[in-house]
Symmetry: C2
Subunit: 199 residues, 2 copies
């Protein structure tokens, strides 16, 4: 089959660029789409292009939104004295699924990583400090990932935020709920022991 | 987050309609696309919509193509006396990957399945018989899947094709190359024994 004009190949090539979709799955998806009514493929195509075009960053927390402020920042019932720092917008979604946090967010859009040449000026730390200087935030919760870069970024932000008179906290590390102790790695287990609380 | 206007949700909802992509993967893909340059998402979106719009069925074999005839039918080096019957266009792609078959194809676009109410008039059997009546085809290779419907469809076509003076053959069933005998099911094993050849 001739590659460039072949519509199946063209669809498959673009689909294969998506993360987690290999060459074979991409081909399978392309054949699936070829067999779908054209309207359905147009609906997918438009949702992707229009969705991407309408995405901007919330002017306050840098979460994804289609408006000036994101849904969280627009919600007047949220506590303005609690600010949770996360790496990227999908972490906001994860926190919101918990339905248990009622403060605001600050999305860094990245993590400090000297190995990858990502320094403080490459992620939204300056914007975070400006927000803290406004004085409304009483507690800053650092919810970056519990890995090397996440810990380093949390430590870096803590060092800058404390002098501003803000209480700085870090999310707890430990054994995930519903998981099996047997399968927890040693670092997680040792963090779980270290963070033990009296009942 | 408010569902309908949220561009991430809109992208994720459409992506979740694809086979093998669950709600969680769809969300992950949507966040990935949100972080991509807009041109890249537009390229994907256009490849899907334009790809689907340009797909038509080859006038001769009903394979997918963007032209009047598919790449196989346009290739004048293919043997016109060999015709391989497959269920759908992705089976043509699978056969072509083998690089070993030099005849033409006929795509049924379905399989006989009384349970699902699919009869001979719902798939392209009439078109196949018309092709056979043209007299060029000497051997008809039935390459429908080795399952109940595939076998029934092959048997049905064989019954109609033989009176037209065409040699009708069925692809061999047996143990897949590179697989382990231990894991072959009994029916496959018994077919492999039945089809054994002298070396």
């Amino acid at each position: 089959m001739n590659q460039p004009q072949d519509p199946i190949q063209r669809m498959a090539e673009e689909l294969a660029k998506l993360p987690g979709i290999g060459r074979k799955s991409a081909q399978r998806l392309a054949y699936h789409l070829a067999a779908q009514p054209e309207e359905q493929v147009v609906a997918l195509s438009r949702a992707l292009a229009e969705g991407r075009a309408s995405i901007r960053l919330c002017e306050r927390c840098y979460n994804y939104t289609a408006q000036q402020l994101c849904a969280v920042c627009r919600d007047t019932r949220r506590r303005e004295d609690l600010l949770c720092v996360v790496r990227d917008p999908r972490d906001v979604a994860a926190m919101e699924r918990m339905h248990d946090y009622h403060g605001l967010y600050h999305v860094l859009h990245g993590i400090l990583s000297p190995m990858d040449g990502i320094g403080p000026e490459d992620i939204r730390i300056r914007e975070l400090l400006l927000r803290l200087k406004e004085g409304q935030v009483k507690e800053l919760i650092l919810a970056t990932n519990p890995d090397i870069e996440g810990e380093a970024t949390a430590a870096y932000i803590a060092r800058l935020a404390k002098p501003l008179g803000v209480k700085v906290t870090r999310i707890a590390h430990g054994v995930p709920v519903g998981s099996d102790l047997e399968y927890a790695d040693e670092v997680t287990l040792s963090k779980a022991m270290e963070g033990r609380r009296e009942l």
